[in-house]
Symmetry: C2
Subunit: 103 residues, 2 copies
């Protein structure tokens, strides 16, 4: 069963195109993280908030990533980091076409 | 461009199998909501927290759903509802295999 990691935080920037350009290498490195299946990068420039929604193979890999990523975000000067790891209700998510399968 | 809706809240239950059975009709009705592309149902029985991650076709449909859903959750006696609508950074999400396409 896959686990969902939900992260959001306050951030001054960059947003939009500048964000897309600035974090290419970081995004590529995230593909190499143990257990990572996919990530959706989220942003709200008006509210100065950003984050990510991730699918991980196990709770342990999601937890390890959250700890590493929180430390990295803090090193960027980012505060108010909110990270939650959830189980996924598979039968209900399947009804709603949720993309929860590993492949 | 699709928008991501992130919702979480405190809930006494039901969780797990009981949740799967109890919310089938609600899940089916969510497929009929304007602009809804998919939903992943999230739950954490230990923390007594649940929620959903949704993809919507537009910001307006995500906003309308959030308002309706928040009122519905409140009518269920659910409190501390936290809903956020984010833009999606498409280039970075594509690098990380994010399931952000409408089809």
């Amino acid at each position: 069963m896959a686990y969902l990691l939900q992260v959001d935080f306050k951030m001054e920037g960059p947003y939009g195109e500048e964000m897309s350009k600035g974090f290419v290498e970081l995004a590529q490195s995230i593909n190499d993280e143990p257990g990572m299946i996919w990530k959706i990068w989220t942003e709200d420039a008006a509210a100065k908030e950003a984050g990510g929604i991730y699918l991980f193979e196990t709770k342990e890999t999601a937890q390890a990533y959250l700890e590493m990523h929180s430390a990295r975000l803090t090193s960027f000067g980012i505060q108010d980091i909110r990270g939650k790891i959830f189980e996924i209700n598979e039968p209900l998510s399947m009804i709603n076409h949720g993309p929860i399968k590993n492949k």
